[in-house]
């Protein structure tokens, strides 16, 4: 977890808040953490998607085999 944090957070250092007109102070730290969470959740989504595709691929391979046996 720490490694992921450092990698993504290290990346986040390069990206800074853009054009903002807000009457509330959004807080720089609170902006940065959103980028981190967005990246983490995005990666999880990607891994899940990839995992599902991989599973699908393996499953289709098995189902083909069963079909062939028939």
């Amino acid at each position: 977890m720490l490694v992921i944090f450092l990698v993504i957070f290290g990346f986040a250092f390069l990206v800074l808040p853009g054009d903002v007109h807000a009457y509330l102070d959004p807080g720089t730290g609170s902006f940065m953490i959103q980028i981190l969470i967005g990246a983490v959740l995005g990666s999880i989504y990607f891994i899940r998607l990839y995992w599902a595709k991989l599973k699908q691929f393996v499953m289709s391979f098995f189902s083909k085999k069963t079909n062939e046996k028939k």
Partner: protein, 459 residues
């Protein structure tokens, strides 16, 4: 026309609320014109209104404007009692949080975003939370993070996680930190096991860390481009939503939570008491009732069923929680449960002591009920009866009050471990002191008990 600003509404330049001849209006300022028009023309307002998530309003003539900065004037639906987050139960706070996230998610579908996420923007109307700040919406710009995220975490996630994972009473920190509980404090107070919870790890612990890391950094916010895609932001909102949905209260048994189960009342006395209260409520026919010390709202419901807008106050957060869960389950519209310590009622807080109004100033109610309460005030809290009479005279026009004598087993219990120094605690003295502020309308003994219920009218 007599126009007066409401002292809580001054932070956002987009608009503010004020009174004209005692009625509430919201001025939409010229500076907010584009965003307001987009809220209406995009269909977002209609959608949120239809789903009863945002307060409905009607547009009124510009002559009602407070000043020359007005673009439009709207008259929002009336909210009879303004409540504050430090007076909500756990599930009330949780539903308010989920409502805020739901609105933000829908707003993004329409190309808008909430520019603040204050818990004070939520009120309870007809048994449900509703968003009341119509000028909180702005155009969403793809790539930008959520401006109100810090405020959301401080106003909602902080108090909720503390109540859920540490102690329900920590919601009271909100009284001190009116812009929500600082996240470094939340992080320090939460048990270390919460580092294993994804939502709390990121939105509280790492968030708090990130805040202190960036606290004194000077950065040029206009030169750089921020990078959080719409899908990533939606994923963040979903993550908060599902995480908050999962937060719950640990099984907690408090002093009063089981009051009715273990009380010495027999059925007959309980039924007779209900019957007497029903009769008295009918005699007064109140529009508003404040039930002080309502527990989970059994007797408040008599007033509510009669059609009175009833506020059920109690000191026990579990009783207030039980009451709210019942309201939700049965879709009751006339009761609002509120957490309050009567010996230290909610005060005036905030800028100039005017932002958040004291409890007493939010009255008076047509009728105040104080059932099985006086012994807790007089004996449990050493309050002289004359002071109690004076206090109730401030709260409402009529008073339904139950006197519980020293021979009653509940009073005996209070006196069991202490010396009886309460020489003025007698029915004679009670009647004598209350006569100074009230006129007696009815007096009735509760069958099968030693108690008496009085109906008083304020002089």
């Amino acid at each position: 026309m007599k126009k007066s600003k409401i002292s809580s509404s001054f932070k956002d330049p987009s608009g503010f609320i004020y009174q004209v001849d005692g009625k509430i209006y919201r001025q939409i300022n010229l500076i907010y014109k584009d965003n307001f028009d987009f809220l209406i023309t995009s269909g977002l307002y209609e959608r949120l209104k239809k789903q009863k998530l945002l307060i409905a309003h009607s547009e009124v003539d510009i002559k009602y404007a407070h000043d020359k900065n007005a673009y439009k004037v709207i008259k929002p639906k009336f909210v009879p009692f303004i409540s504050y987050p430090y007076s909500w139960s756990f599930s009330m706070h949780k539903d308010a949080a989920l409502l805020t996230l739901k609105i933000q998610k829908i707003a993004m579908e329409y190309g808008m975003s909430l520019k603040d996420a204050s818990a004070f923007n939520i009120q309870f109307l007809d048994g449900r939370p509703i968003f009341i700040d119509t000028s909180s919406f702005e155009r969403y710009k793809e790539g930008l993070p959520w401006v109100a995220y810090r405020q959301f975490c401080q106003h909602f996630l902080g108090p909720l996680s503390l109540m859920s994972k540490k102690d329900i009473r920590l919601s009271q920190l909100f009284k001190i930190y009116l812009d929500g509980i600082p996240l470094d404090l939340v992080s320090k107070l939460l048990p270390k096991t919460t580092y294993l919870n994804f939502m709390l790890l990121f939105h509280i612990h790492i968030h708090a860390n990130s805040q202190s890391k960036w606290a004194d950094k000077q950065i040029n916010i206009n030169k750089q481009k921020i990078n959080i895609s719409k899908i990533q932001l939606q994923a963040l909102l979903d993550n908060l939503y599902s995480g908050i949905e999962k937060l719950s209260l640990k099984e907690t048994r408090t002093e009063w939570g089981d009051y009715y189960t273990f009380t010495n009342y027999d059925r007959k006395a309980f039924d007779d008491k209900s019957h007497i209260i029903k009769k008295m409520i009918k005699a007064v026919n109140p529009k508003t009732v404040w039930d002080m010390g309502a527990n989970d709202g059994h007797f408040s419901r008599i007033a509510a069923d009669y059609g009175a807008k009833t506020i059920a106050f109690d000191i026990d957060p579990i009783a207030v929680e039980k009451n709210y869960l019942n309201i939700k389950k049965n879709k009751e519209k006339n009761i609002l449960p509120i957490l309050v310590d009567l010996v230290n009622p909610t005060s005036d807080y905030g800028w100039s002591n005017e932002e958040r109004t004291a409890l007493i100033k939010r009255g008076p109610a047509d009728t105040v009920m104080a059932l099985a309460l006086i012994h807790h005030l007089a004996i449990g809290n050493n309050l002289p009866i004359r002071k109690i009479a004076k206090f109730f005279a401030k709260l409402g026009k009529f008073l339904i009050i139950e006197f519980v004598p020293k021979k009653d087993s509940q009073v005996k219990k209070l006196l069991a471990s202490r010396e009886d120094i309460f020489l003025d605690y007698s029915q004679e003295n009670f009647e004598h002191e209350f006569r100074k502020y009230f006129e007696l309308i009815q007096k009735q003994k509760v069958k099968n008990s030693l108690r008496t219920i009085y109906l008083y009218k304020k002089i």
